[in-house]
Amino acid sequence: MTQTPLTTENLSVTYTGDREIEAVKGISIGFPANRLTTIIGPSGCGKSTLLKSLNRLHEIQPNVKITGDVLLSGNSVYNTDEPTPEIRKQIGYVPQTPTALPVSIYENVAYGLRIHGDYESKTDLDEKVETYLRKVNLWEEVQDRLNAPGAELSTGQIQRLCVARSLAVEPDILLCDEVTSALDPISAESVEETLEELKSEYTIILVTHSMAQARRLADEVVFLYLGEVVEANNVQSFFENPQKERTKHFIGGPTPVESDSSTKLTAATSPTADGGENMFTGAGESSSSEEQ
């Protein structure tokens, strides 16, 4: 039986701003260890909300109410005396927009290690920075300019830097929020390659708009629709033998209810070869920011 280090128990997230919206509706689901699980679904279905609620990151926004719980290795994430930063250290997060912290490339990776005091000496810190930059295949590209500003890298490199930065604090789980949606096809491919290499070592949960990306990368797929899990299965069964009607519609083409253009593009282009499809899914995904 596969271990599930992260599970949700009847997790609901409600935005309580001007009007109340229940973005995630009582989800109970497990994320298996050392596997890459993708959360897919149309825009506004609650993918990013679910992801951020896993490490309490949505708490930095105002007007969010949460019920239910998340369990990390059996321990409650919400009903605990442990400070939230310690929980977020264990459940890392890579944001959708590639963002270098306003410091050098070196300091970007060292940041997490410094704030948590996870290093013994300068040499140890140097070694760790190199290790994690190598892990995301960025070391060769940046080793000569570690003191240059992180913001001067290309967006693809910045996104890999973000992954390295998150890995450096040695989380048990890595949450990735549409990490390739802001990237050009070539950069997206390099980030995907990085995730592909990491997935045997880490428990990764990736929110994606792109069915093709889910097919390429995922071990497990969770399909969300209007804040509820429609179907969760391993990637092969999910795409080849979907159990639910809505899943079949979503995989096969535009869903009958949702007429979102990004869904159309993603779904329509999913079976094609890599080169063209990335471009289309990329274009579709850029319209998904309302989820934030």
Binding site: I60, P83, P102, I115, A151
Partner: protein, 283 residues
Amino acid sequence: MNRYTKQRLFGIAVRAAALLVVSVMLLVVSVTLARGGRVLLADPAIVATPPGSRYMLEGNGGFLHAVLGSLFIVGPATILSMVLAVSTATYLQSDYSSQRFSESVNMFLNVLWGTPPIVYGVFVLTIIIALGAQTSLFFGIIAIAIFQYPIMTRYTDEALRAAPDTVRESTYGLGATRFESACMTVRAAAPGVIAGLIMGFARGIGDAATVLFTTGRSTRMPGGLFDAATTLPVLIFDQAMSFNPEVRSHAYAASFVLTVVVLGLIFISKILAGRYARYTPGG
């Protein structure tokens, strides 16, 4: 009038407006630099010479007392004000206060921003009288700090708001505390924060009304924190009112020093902001 004629007329109007502003600025700066520069070149020592015992009457000595008075007042005031401004601006971000409260505080800041500096001077003077104290460097620092505070807070607040929210999200995602995250956000907003710091300093060093009642308009070298002092703008006013033409000419020299300091500060802020902008996402 057709659309293209309107466009041409508007183009002429905006260019004329820009030209007018630049011309006035150039005129003021060049007159000050030319007249003040002439006096200063003839006797550069006046900047570094303490005033003689009858300086305001006879013009003997220089105005080092006002140069030092300005630095001793505006330097500490800027540091004090900057600490308060960065703290307030950070507090106004959503992590520490509700949006509604933040809006109310912003309104008060706007009121403070719009308050004439002479009012701060009178306010601090009231405190001095209530305490039975006397005008001094210390109260000048307090008055200038109060004057600079809304300026710096507004600049810092705007800079923090303009900093990408993803910096905040990224730091929290790595397990940063609110303080650690705020420090990184301030760093991301560094070009704007530096601009606020320099503008606060420049406005502080150029303001006469705030220190008029609070520092004592001394004509001697500043002796200590609780001794009377004067600053360059107040001295310029006193010099310009003098019967002695030599003292009046010193007003131009003092204006020259003040203008060069302010221009220099703006220049430094541009360089610093540019340097930090390299590190800023999207910079």
